[in-house]
C-alpha cells in the first residue's frame, strides 16, 4: 500500500523511510501498517534490532515479504487493526498510506490504541507546487511524487500538514515530534511555524502518542 504514493523505482533506499526508521528506538516492537515490499521492516530489523511486524494489503507485497523472511500478514488497515490488543507495540507506523485508507481518523485512533507511539508519514497536499497547479490549471494536481490522475488514484483522502495537525487536536493526540521533508525526502532543516511547513514540506512525518 505504501507504493501507492511513490512512483516506480524509488523503493530501494527511500530517504523518507530512513527518516522514519531513525525515529524508532532500537530493540522495540513495531507494527508497520502498509509495509509494501518490506523495505522499512528490513531497515528496522537489520539496522536497529527491532521486532518488526508488517501488515500489507497487496498479496504480492505480502508474499514477497514473507519469502524474504519478514513477519507480515495480508490485511487491510481499515478493518484488521481492530484485532490487535491495546498496547501490543511500542510503535505503529503508517508510512505513506494514510491517504489511501477509507477512514484515516479511525486508523490513526487504532494506531494510538495498539502502540505506545504512532508514526505517520504522508504527502502534504498543502505544498506550494500543488497549490499553484490547482490555482493555475484548475485541475487536480499530478506531480512527480503524486503521479496518479484523479480517476485512478488509490489516494482517496489527501490532507495538508495543517489538516493533520487539526486532526491530532480533535483526537486529543500529543504530537511528540514532527518533520517536514522536501521533495527528495530530506528534512526541512529549520523549525518553522506549521504554516511554513505546510507550504514548503512535500511530505511530513509525525510521531504521536496518547495524552
Amino acid at each position: 500500500m505504501s507504493a501507492a504514493f511513490l512512483s516506480d523505482g524509488q523503493s530501494a533506499a527511500r530517504v523518507d523511510l530512513l527518516q522514519v526508521a531513525e525515529m524508532v528506538e532500537p530493540g522495540s516492537r513495531v507494527l508497520d501498517v502498509g509495509c509494501g515490499d518490506g523495505s522499512l521492516l528490513r531497515l528496522l530489523a537489520e539496522g536497529r534490532g527491532v521486532d518488526a511486524r508488517g501488515m500489507e494489503l497487496s498479496q504480492a507485497g505480502v508474499n514477497e515479504c514473507v519469502a524474504k523472511g519478514l513477519s507480515v500478514i495480508q490485511g487491510d488497515a481499515d478493518t484488521d487493526l481492530a484485532y490487535y490488543p491495546d498496547g501490543a507495540f511500542d510503535y505503529v507506523i503508517l508510512s505513506q498510506t494514510l491517504q489511501a485508507t477509507r477512514q484515516p481518523r479511525v486508523v490513526v485512533e487504532h494506531m494510538l490504541r495498539i502502540g505506545r507511539r504512532a508514526i505517520v508519514s504522508f504527502p502534504n497536499f498543502g505544498h506550494w507546487r500543488i497549490r499553484l497547479q490547482i490555482l493555475f490549471s484548475g485541475r487536480m494536481p499530478v506531480t512527480q511524487n503524486l503521479s496518479y490522475s484523479w480517476y485512478e488514484t488509490p489516494n482517496i483522502h489527501f490532507c495538508t500538514i495543517a489538516d493533520f495537525v487539526a486532526l491530532c487536536g480533535e483526537m486529543d493526540a500529543k504530537i511528540e515530534r514532527s518533520t517536514a521533508l522536501d521533495r527528495f525526502g530530506h528534512p526541512v532543516r529549520f523549525a518553522m511555524p506549521w504554516s511554513f511547513w505546510n507550504l514548503f514540506g512535500e511530505q511530513a512525518v509525525f510521531v504521536l502518542s496518547r495524552k
Binding site: D51, N63, V66, A67, S71, Q74, D80, Y83
Partner: protein
C-alpha cells in the same frame, strides 16, 4: 470398480507390520484419550529424514492430512509412488533434510502402522475395528508428543502440515507452546465447518451403507467395503479441487468416445477420473480408518477448549507462525486462515500470513506451487536464523 482381494494385502501388512520405524508402548504406558479411554498397548509408526544435531534443535515435525501417511519423502510402500510432499521435503528443498531432522508419524487411527481400527495390536490379536476408541486431533498430537519425547527432543524447530495436518499444527501450538519454536498451518482451520462435517457425513454413510462393511467387522470376515469407500473418496475428492480446475482439466470432454452412449457408463472424462480416484484409494486405505479420521476432524474446534475464544488458545505464545491459504480452496477457505491470524494478532503472537493465488483448490498444498515453496523457504530460513541454526555449506551437500 471390482478388483481381487489379493491387492488388499499391502494395506493390511502396513497396518500390522509397517515398513517404518515403530515405537511401541506396553500395557503400562497407555495413552490417555479425550473420550476417557486409556489406550494400551499402542504403537506409533514414523519416518525420519536427515540428522538430529547435537543440540537437538533442528527437528521439524510434519503432520499428515486425512488420507496421508508418514511416507513424506520416500517411495510409498503401499502405492509404490513418490512421497506425498517431495516438493517440500528433501535435500535443498524448503524443509531441507541436509539441514533439518524431519519426522513424520502416521496419525492415531490411521492404517499405516500406528494403532487404529485396522491394527491387530489389541487384545486377542484381531483387528480392533470399531472397538478402537474414537480419537481426536488432540489425541493424535498427544501420541506425537510421546514420540518426540522418545526421540529426546524438547523443542521442535517447526511443526508443519496441511489440512488435517494443519489442525494438528494448531493443536501442537496450543497444547505445547514452549515445545514449538515455529509453526506452519497450511490450508487449515481452527474448527471444522458445518459444510465440511456434512461432506464427511456423506462419506461415512457411503461406507456404512456398503453391505461389505458388516458393522465395521469386515476385516475379521475377510472382506472390505470397497464400493462404499470408493464413493466416499469420489465425493471428497471433488471438495479438494475447484470448479475452474475441474473445468480446465476435463471440461465436458467425453471419455474415449465422441458422443453420449445413453447409458450410465463413464461417458465423461471427469466421471472416469473420479472412478479411478475411488478405485485407487480403496487399494491403499482402510474404510474404518476413514470413519475415525473424518470424525476427528469434525470434532476439532480449538477455541471450544478455551471458553470459545481462539486467542486464548495462543495466549502468551512465543511461537513464530506462518499461516498459508489458497484462493480457490473452498473446503478450508482463506476466511478460516484469517480467523487464525486474527486470534494470533489478538494474542500478540508473531504471525505471517500468505494467501496464495491458484486455481488448484484445497489440494494446492500438496502440489508444486512455486509461491508455497518460496514462502516456506523464506519463513523457515528466517526462523532458523532466529533459532541460531547455521545454514548448510555447499560442500556439505550430499
Amino acid at each position: 470398480m471390482t478388483r481381487s482381494h489379493a491387492t488388499s494385502a499391502p494395506v493390511r501388512n502396513e497396518a500390522d507390520e509397517p515398513s517404518s520405524e515403530v515405537l511401541r508402548f506396553d500395557a503400562t504406558q497407555g495413552l490417555e484419550l479425550d473420550c476417557g479411554v486409556v489406550l494400551a498397548p499402542w504403537r506409533i509408526a514414523y519416518q525420519t529424514y536427515g540428522t538430529l544435531n547435537a543440540d537437538r534443535s533442528n527437528a521439524i515435525l510434519l503432520c499428515h492430512a486425512l488420507t496421508g501417511d508418514q511416507h513424506v519423502a520416500n517411495v510409498n510402500p503401499v502405492t509404490g509412488r513418490p512421497g506425498w510432499w517431495e516438493t517440500m521435503v528433501g535435500p535443498g528443498k524448503p524443509y531441507d533434510t541436509d539441514r533439518f531432522f524431519v519426522i513424520c508419524a502416521n496419525v492415531l487411527g490411521s492404517c499405516l502402522g500406528t494403532s487404529g481400527p485396522a491394527s491387530r495390536d489389541g487384545e486377542g490379536g484381531k483387528a480392533r475395528g470399531l472397538e478402537f476408541p474414537v480419537v481426536t486431533v488432540r489425541d493424535m498430537v498427544r501420541a506425537q508428543a510421546r514420540l518426540v519425547d522418545h526421540l529426546g527432543i524438547e523443542t521442535l524447530f517447526c511443526v508443519a502440515g496441511g489440512s488435517m495436518g494443519g489442525m494438528q499444527v494448531l493443536q501442537w501450538a496450543a497444547s505445547y507452546p514452549e515445545r514449538v519454536f515455529s509453526a506452519m498451518p497450511i490450508a487449515a482451520a481452527a474448527k471444522h465447518s458445518a459444510q465440511n462435517i456434512a461432506f464427511h457425513e456423506v462419506g461415512r454413510q457411503a461406507v456404512m451403507a456398503d453391505p461389505e462393511w458388516h458393522a465395521g467387522r469386515y476385516l475379521e470376515l475377510g472382506t472390505r467395503p470397497e464400493k462404499g469407500l470408493a464413493v466416499a473418496r469420489m465425493a471428497a475428492h471433488i471438495t479438494y479441487l475447484s470448479q475452474p480446475a475441474l473445468h480446465r482439466k476435463f471440461g465436458r470432454n467425453f471419455q474415449d468416445r465422441t458422443a453420449p452412449t445413453f447409458s450410465f457408463d463413464a461417458d465423461f472424462e471427469v466421471e472416469s477420473y473420479l472412478r479411478y480416484q475411488g478405485r485407487s484409494f480403496v487399494e491403499r486405505f482402510d474404510a474404518n480408518s476413514y470413519l475415525y479420521l473424518t470424525r476427528s476432524m469434525d470434532y476439532f474446534d480449538l477455541a471450544a477448549d478455551y471458553d470459545g475464544v481462539l486467542a486464548k488458545a495462543f495466549k502468551g505464545t512465543k511461537t513464530r507462525f506462518c499461516v498459508v491459504s489458497f484462493t480457490s480452496d473452498w473446503l478450508f477457505p482463506t476466511s478460516d486462515s484469517r480467523a487464525i491470524v486474527h486470534a494470533l494478532n489478538a494474542a500478540g503472537g508473531s504471525v505471517s500470513f500468505v494467501e496464495i493465488e491458484t486455481d488448484k483448490g484445497h489440494d494446492a498444498f500438496l502440489l508444486d506451487v512455486p509461491e508455497l515453496l518460496e514462502t516456506t523457504r523464506g519463513f523457515i530460513d528466517a526462523a532458523a536464523r532466529a533459532r541460531g541454526l547455521a545454514p548448510v555449506k555447499k560442500a556439505d551437500r550430499a
